[in-house]
Assembly symmetry: C2
Homo-oligomer: 122 residues x 2
């Protein structure tokens, strides 16, 4: 894993929000849409960007693609994700995103609108 690639991935606001959210657990694209309030194509492309550089993994689950951070991230990545987690604590946008996620989680637990309850189990 290249340090440059990591920084390239993190230097976009949307990608940063995505990665930050994935720190809370796996998510599928429709969740990102709802939480970030961004169009599907934008999210999808950023996820693709992250995927080709190894910052996220994905797994198909029926109709849905469930994205997550790598199970065993490289040292540099793990270090930087921890750093990001720490730095983002104070950012209002990140806090709002996570708040939306928390609000979404129980709803999905009982009746998932998109079938990926497992994605939010974490």
């Amino acid at each position: 894993m290249d340090l440059i690639s990591i920084y390239e991935c993190l230097c976009d606001r949307t990608r940063l929000r995505i990665v930050q959210l994935l720190g809370e657990g796996p998510l599928c694209v429709c969740h990102f849409q709802e939480i970030l309030r961004e169009p599907q194509v934008k999210i999808s492309k950023h996820l693709s960007y992250l995927r080709t550089r190894g910052l996220v993994q994905c797994e198909r689950q029926g109709n849905w693609m469930v994205y997550s951070l790598p199970a065993k991230p490289a040292r540099e990545l793990a270090r930087n994700l921890a750093c990001l987690q720490d730095c983002a604590q104070e950012d209002p946008v990140f806090r709002r995103d996570v708040a939306r996620l928390k609000k979404l989680t129980p709803k999905l637990a009982e009746s998932s609108p998109c079938g990926c309850t497992t994605a939010v189990r974490a």
Copy 2:
């Protein structure tokens, strides 16, 4: 200080080497030229890029511009610089750069070729 700006600054190899070197202490442009073996204009532009985003400071010293990391970096910056310092330990390019710097330092201490011995005092 914006997280995005920090990551934008760090997502270029040359800038990463510059920042990494500044972790060892202030340096002037000619030192970067010698250590990085890159043309003056390239280094100067990247320094300018870093300066406008607040990642480095500079101070004129006669004919020379002495660059350094900010005296009191913002929390996010300090955190990320520490992270970088840690991640870069293993990178052969960074190690070589620092080795060149160490080799340069004593030479400058006795007879500085460009007058900025003070820059390497640290």
